[in-house]
Symmetry: C2
Subunit: 142 residues, 2 copies
Amino acid sequence: MSGADQPEGTARRPSRQRSAVLALLDDLDGFSSAQDLHALLRERGDAVGLATVYRALQALVDDGQVDVLRGADGEAAYRRCSPVHHHHLVCRSCGTTVEVADPPVERWARQIAAEHGFADVQHQVEVFGTCRACTTAGPVVS
Amino acid sequence: MSGADQPEGTARRPSRQRSAVLALLDDLDGFSSAQDLHALLRERGDAVGLATVYRALQALVDDGQVDVLRGADGEAAYRRCSPVHHHHLVCRSCGTTVEVADPPVERWARQIAAEHGFADVQHQVEVFGTCRACTTAGPVVS
DNA sequence: GTGTTCATGAGAATCATTCTCGCATAGCCG
DNA sequence: CGGCTATGCGAGAATGATTCTCATGAACAC
Ligand SMILES: [Mn+2]
Ligand SMILES: [Mn+2]
Ligand SMILES: [Zn+2]
Ligand SMILES: [Zn+2]
């Protein structure tokens, strides 16, 4: 219901590159930009072309194995995530992310849409804050 | 709590350009990109430089008179909106927007954040769907 | 094996947004 | 009313993430 998935009857051909991107995301905790992932892969040794990193990420997002978030600066950030619908609680300071289930919001979104006659509903919910660790460590000096 | 506001003791000098941008947004219904707004102003006769459109929009967002949304393509979309906290119900097909109040989500976000020890919470909620008019008119042919 | 199809990668192209910098203008003071 | 200065403006250049192009290589079907 989100991505364009893969056209019926076609298979996605496996590749070292796509596996490498997914494996890297498995080792990472927070969200990372495509550019960062590309740089990390290069450091790691198994290099992947930048264009391919983008293609792999798009494929993974379409397959629901990775989800994407748009930062305030418009740069896309990717993160490996569980395939069931959920939302994120993100630390504004260190990027730590918690996946949260959301029955109430789910219900609320459906209801508000129905009240206004909207069909085929999707919603996008992200909660930002400062995690306990960062709060303790003290605010960033500017 | 969102924008960087205006540094204490400084005043924002009024200008024809900023007024024009705001006035245009008043006449529009859905969300519009900076580029679109720039083109519309040009057609309208009272032209404004593109860079200035961006500056004006930033200022208006900081002042809370306009809010901004990032589309899936990363392009920022702006819309005049009421100054009280609210969320949007957006038609995926025609762009029509409804502002919705959200006591339940508000509570839910605060609670979920508290449960995980997050402080200084913000949230970002958008609901997308197909409005009644567009559902009736039939889906877009692709 | 052999021909077909899909994936890759280097670099060019796109394109929204931001920056630069010379100029216009508003607000201020005497 | 003239100067003085901080601020806004605009045209074009610069930036930078993402996408496109196209030639090459790997996977698949038979
Ligand atoms: Mn997730
Ligand atoms: Mn609004
Ligand atoms: Zn943190
Ligand atoms: Zn509609």
